[in-house]
């Protein structure tokens, strides 16, 4: 029984299913807020989660990966991110309901009162600091910081992993070349974060939790932060082993596990399978023309086509917001390339949409 359950969990955790299930869970939580924001839901979740941990603890493979000193923070990350996501949605739901009844938000109600910084604020801060210090000291006494063999240039460990907070980007290397996964996408994340206050012109929801007044903004951030950042960090930490192959949480990290990789470029599909040519054109630009046309359509034509409906929906159709709209679309389309590429990889083993290794230009 126990073994079967472990196999089932391993199977459930493979990247395709893991991702699909995360999407379903996210949509369900956001959609059925009346239920998901209940206190019993989060308590039940943590009880079940703890029970799962307690049950899995005795498994040597699970235990090994969870108790690695540097992985402890990621368990903390998982728990806190889930709890705080719930808390924000919980408070947002209460506020949304209050507004419908014509009441002020929780924050608006409390905010009418002003209190002295001393003692109300400084004591909260003091208690936070003391508790946190205690936590850190106990943690430091219990778990020693790791130190491995001295550095050796000649011996590459397998797997070689970036520090945990960059594992989301390392996971993207499965789907993209480093110039996109490691340079372009991180740059766009930073630029995109900076641009958020200038793109989002919705004046509502400033200074209180809500969902209904900013459904697009909140859903977008949940998808970006939870689905593509935190969940990828967790995938990269716990479920990627030697050769960056996938390993279920109960699976032994076998150095020789090789995943078959048959990856095919779009140009191959086009010239061989579609046109039945024996050979693709030798000029790289001509060879990659189908992919180039697709990308141009995606980045240049699509925003123009969607301009009218989306402008009307997100910017009240006001022309003055046209620059914001195109900036937003550009960033969103880059972001959208990630799930697109993932799906294409899983369904038709696609390697590159445009592949010009001669110039290191592979998309």
């Amino acid at each position: 029984m126990s073994e079967q359950l472990k196999h089932f969990v391993d199977w459930l955790m493979q990247p395709t299913l893991y991702f699909a299930l995360s999407v379903v869970a996210l949509v369900a939580v956001l959609k059925f807020r009346a239920i998901s924001t209940k206190k019993s839901v989060i308590i039940g979740f943590f009880v079940l989660g703890t029970a799962f941990f307690a049950w899995a603890w005795s498994d040597p493979n699970f235990n090994k990966i969870i108790t690695k000193p540097d992985n402890v923070p990621i368990v903390i990350l998982l728990a806190t991110v889930i709890f705080f996501s719930w808390l924000s949605l919980h408070r947002g739901y209460i506020n949304d309901e209050r507004k419908k009844k014509g009441l002020p938000t929780l924050e608006g109600e409390l905010g009418k009162q002003k209190v002295f910084t001393w003692p109300d604020l400084v004591y909260t801060e003091l208690i936070c600091m003391v508790l946190f210090t205690a936590l850190l000291v106990i943690w430091s006494i219990k778990i020693g910081a790791p130190i491995e063999e001295p550095a050796a240039q000649a011996r590459t460990p397998n797997p070689s992993k970036a520090p945990w907070y960059f594992l989301g980007l390392q996971e993207l290397l499965v789907y993209f070349d480093p110039w996109i996964a490691g340079v372009l996408l991180p740059s766009f994340i930073i630029v995109g974060l900076c641009a958020i206050p200038y793109i989002d012109v919705n004046p509502k929801g400033n200074g209180y939790y809500t969902f209904e007044e900013r459904p697009f903004a909140i859903s977008f951030f949940w998808v970006g932060f939870l689905l593509f950042w935190v969940s990828f960090v967790i995938l990269g930490t716990f479920l990627r082993g030697p050769n960056w192959s996938f390993f279920g949480p109960f699976e032994y990290w076998d150095l020789h596990k090789l995943e078959p990789m048959v990856n095919i470029d779009l140009s191959t599909y086009f010239w061989f399978d579609l046109l039945g040519r024996p050979k693709a054109p030798s000029d790289p630009l001509l060879r990659e023309l189908p992919g180039i046309v697709l990308l141009l359509g995606y980045f240049a034509v699509l925003p123009v086509l969607l301009q009218k409906p989306l402008m009307a929906k997100l910017f009240d159709g006001k022309r003055e917001h046209i620059v914001r709209y195109h900036l937003m679309m550009h960033l969103l389309l880059w972001f959208g390339l990630i799930p697109i590429k993932m799906l294409l990889r899983w369904t038709i083993d696609l390697k590159y949409i445009v592949g010009i290794p001669e110039w290191f230009f592979n998309v």
Partner: protein, 258 residues
């Protein structure tokens, strides 16, 4: 007991430091905040909603607190650590065996991990409460830079133990820089930057080389990361934090419904 405290509070010494009575009256509570250098970061009075734990999650404050812990423990670690390829590993190893209260390295490392988590959660909370909206757009941007600096602090520190874990994590991380468009030797467009058939961008002078001071993670990289980790980035982050806190107040304190 009360008498003892009273007489201490009446000494010239005490009065020269604290210029207010016990903070149990509005006047003294105001003075307690205004006449204290550290506390005067805060306004005298705050909206109740703004200090609710379930509103701010205390994550900005904890991030700052962790930064302070990092500064103190980091300083102590610097007494024992020499950033050279021969000595670095040895010094880290000796910390556990030979240094009294040998948890400084642990405190430093776990706090660093926690700081990354708290800064993410802080950003998450600021987003979810819409606190980046006017008038706080600029402070959000200061925050984004602080986020990047926090990650860079962690990243540069990761190399310093000079063990396999450190060197290869930084190798994997910095390998990406090779592929920077135009500036990395395996990046698209790099071959365009040439003059008379001479390529300017190659493994010996691209951005990765600039970051690592070499073609691989070696002694030059160790020194560079050490200086950035202990001096460069902390100074930049501390400056930006000062601006960040100042702006929180200038923008009307912790956000709340208007």
């Amino acid at each position: 007991m009360g008498k003892l405290f009273d007489s201490i509070r009446n000494t010239q010494l005490w009065k020269s430091v604290f210029r207010h009575g016990y903070p149990d009256t509005p006047r003294n509570r105001t003075l307690a905040v205004l006449s204290n250098f550290f506390l005067h970061l805060h306004p005298v009075k705050v909206r109740r909603s703004g200090i609710q734990l379930s509103y701010t999650w205390c994550m900005g404050g904890l991030t700052f607190f962790l930064f302070l812990i990092e500064t103190i423990t980091g300083l102590l670690l610097m007494f024992y650590y020499r950033p050279t390829a021969e000595l670095a590993y040895q010094d880290i190893f000796a910390l556990r065996e030979h240094v009294p209260i040998g948890i400084m390295r642990e405190l430093h490392r776990w706090s660093a991990h926690m700081m990354v988590i708290t800064v993410w959660l802080h950003m998450y909370r600021v987003f979810l409460t819409g606190s980046y909206k006017p008038p706080r757009e600029f402070n959000w941007n200061v925050g984004v830079i602080l986020l990047v600096l926090t990650l860079l602090l962690s990243f540069t520190g990761y190399l310093l133990p000079w063990d396999q874990l450190a060197v290869w994590a930084i190798t994997v991380g910095s390998n990406m820089a090779r592929a920077t468009p135009f500036l990395g030797h395996e990046g698209p467009g790099a071959s365009l930057i040439s003059f008379g058939g001479l390529n300017f961008i190659h493994a010996g002078d691209d951005v990765r080389f600039g970051l690592l001071a070499g073609r691989f993670v070696g002694e030059g990289a160790l020194l560079r990361f050490y200086v950035l980790h202990c001096v460069g980035i902390p100074l930049a982050a501390a400056t930006l934090m000062a601006i960040h806190f100042w702006r929180v107040r200038k923008d009307g304190g912790i956000s709340g419904p208007l």
